[in-house]
């Protein structure tokens, strides 16, 4: 199976305190730790496992600059066979549909049986996979937490729906799936793996190569535009306890006793 996996470089929100920068136009980006979007990493692992089982190739694609290239390279170190980078000044400021348009165009550069994205990224929109599917007229399923390959014509998939229940469906190939965390255990990428792919050439596709008209993507084409970032005025917010660990623990024990938290 030929599989395309779309990945995004994001500030790791588990590792960073995200705060609003001066004027609110952006978050403070100095000192942020970036990594591949967590959901995308599961998608790449799933693709690699399918190919290890049934044969084929995994291609990883990202929209972005040379820093996004590092993410593509990392996923190649995991075991993806090929990398692609969609880079053009005209892509900057794209909204969700802009990114999906670029990725859909990249997907038509070869014949893929399966296109994977992460279910969510840092924007929390859960939108790009479903848009790619619609742009390419392919069937789609989101929050997928199980993939069984069958006869090469369809897949049996599970979707993780509310309450942790699993909705099982059959979906025809080619198709687009967005992958939920927990579907597998992404493999560890060691220094040796990174070194192995350090000098691999990663083809760069610009707007011309992808056949994308200037103005249809990027800030010029965006219909959804962020005006500013802000920190909401917390309602009551938490009563913050202060002191040494010993003092904090004493205060908390008293509160827990009063609220019936200690049996």
């Amino acid at each position: 199976m030929e599989i395309l996996v779309c990945v995004k470089r994001v500030p790791d929100s588990a590792e960073n305190e995200i705060s609003v920068g001066p004027g609110g136009t952006d978050i403070k980006r100095d000192d942020l730790v970036y990594s591949v979007n967590e959901w995308d990493n599961y998608a790449v692992e799933e693709a690699i496992q399918i190919v290890e089982r049934d044969g084929g190739n995994v291609t990883v694609v990202s929209v972005g600059d040379s820093e996004a290239e590092d993410i593509v390279r990392r996923e190649m170190a995991m075991g993806a066979n090929n990398g692609l980078l969609a880079t053009d000044a005209a892509f900057e400021g794209s909204d969700g549909l802009g990114v999906a348009t670029i990725l859909a165009a990249a997907a038509t550069k070869a014949s893929y049986d399966l296109i994977l994205t992460g279910a969510l990224a840092d924007g929390g929109a859960a939108q790009v996979g479903g848009m790619i599917a619609a742009l390419l007229d392919l069937p789609y399923a989101s929050v997928v937490n199980k993939i069984e390959t069958k006869d090469g014509k369809s897949l049996r998939i599970g979707r993780e729906i509310e309450g942790g229940n699993q909705e099982v469906s059959d979906i025809e190939l080619p198709c687009v799936l967005s992958i939920q965390t927990g579907i597998n255990e992404p493999r560890y990428v060691g220094i040796r793996g990174i070194r192995k792919v350090a000098s691999v050439e990663i083809p760069v596709l610009d707007a011309g190569a992808l056949g994308i008209a200037a103005g249809s993507v990027g800030a010029a084409g965006a219909k959804v535009k962020r005006v500013d970032y802000f920190v909401p005025v917390a309602g009551a917010g938490a009563e913050m306890l202060t002191g040494s660990n010993d003092e904090l623990a004493s205060k908390l024990v008293e509160l827990l006793k009063a609220k019936g938290g200690i049996k």
Partner: protein, 321 residues
């Protein structure tokens, strides 16, 4: 805006989902003076249509056996057939919304406005909404050009449920939903495993998240829970890492709990996690990140390193005995 406003009504076992009431309110808040039309797709949906009619100006019923299980790959072409160009459709930001919404917006040529947590104004064809990014650590005002219509997904709890008014007319449009086919077919629903403990029945929960860092550190949480006589639960990343069973996961994709006391240890407080905590418990958050969104909803907050703080806390509780 003179566009038609639609609300997609989710339902299960003959009852409308809570989201239907919130979406009806959202439609009237965002588009005052509009006459929102409810869309009910399914098999045997008369009761649901009757239930939501008092919330809406009109209800369109699409009753077909093929729609017995909500398959977005069937419902998307159905909606494309019946929604006029330039319309606005509101739906819930949940796993069905993820399936249906993005592709529907592309096919309608409408703007996709996902995961709205607040409404901040409508001027001409610019809809201004509030969203959250970076797992809820910061919020953003977003301007959306909806001149060609919009598909808007609304987060649960963002709008207060609509009150009933005069019942809107129910229009049977089932014929428009005939002969649908899809390349994705529903097979079965597998219920979540019960697990070794039922956290939904516990009064006191000690809940652990990604901030615990390593599998071996879970022992610190176990010791605290044991000292308190409480049960241990967790957030999603702990289950993804297979450090605890799925049966202990609190959140929209896990269990809904209603304890009296809830300790959130190293849990940032994503809306998916908070969505699983009901009944307004005494919520204590301990996190090393002072910007963690959990502090916005917690009763009491402590900024501390769990690995240093938990042993001190456990020791103090042990000494009470």
């Amino acid at each position: 805006m003179d566009a038609k406003i639609f609300v997609l009504v989710a339902h299960k076992d003959g009852k409308a989902d809570d989201s239907a009431f919130e979406l009806a309110a959202a439609a009237r808040a965002m588009f005052p003076g509009s006459a929102p039309i409810g869309l009910v797709c399914g098999s045997g949906v008369d009761a649901v249509c009757g239930e939501v009619a008092p919330l809406l100006a009109e209800v369109w019923k699409f009753n077909q056996v093929a729609l017995g299980y909500p398959n977005a790959e069937l419902i998307r072409p159905l909606l494309l057939n019946v929604i006029p160009a330039g319309s606005v459709l509101l739906l819930a930001h949940d796993t069905f919304g993820y399936d249906l919404g993005p592709g529907l917006s592309v096919k309608l040529g409408a703007t996709y406005v996902p995961d709205v947590v607040g409404f901040d104004g409508l001027e001409e064809t610019t809809l201004r909404v509030v969203r959250q990014e970076f797992a809820g650590q910061v919020s953003a005002h977003v301007n959306c050009n909806i001149a060609n219509g919009a598909v808007v997904t609304v987060r649960s709890g963002a709008f207060k449920p609509a009150e009933a008014g005069p019942a809107g007319a129910i229009v049977d449009r089932s014929a428009d939903a005939a002969g649908l086919t899809a390349k994705r077919k529903f097979v079965e629903l597998i219920q979540a495993e019960a697990g070794d403990i039922d956290i939904t029945r516990e009064d006191v929960l000690v809940s652990v998240g990604r901030g615990i860092g390593d599998k071996e550190n879970i022992a610190l949480v176990e010791e605290l829970a044991a000292a308190m006589g409480a049960a241990m639960s967790c957030s999603r990343p702990i289950v993804d890492a297979k450090w605890l069973d799925k049966g202990r996961q609190v959140g929209t994709s896990g269990k809904t709990v209603k304890p009296k006391v809830y300790l959130a240890l190293g849990i940032s407080g994503s809306f998916q996690h908070l969505g699983g905590i009901k009944g307004n418990p005494f919520l204590v958050a301990v996190n090393k990140n002072p910007k963690a969104p959990i502090f916005q909803v917690a009763t009491v907050g402590i900024v501390a390193d769990l690995l240093e703080f938990l042993p001190v806390l456990t020791e103090k509780i042990e000494k009470l005995k």
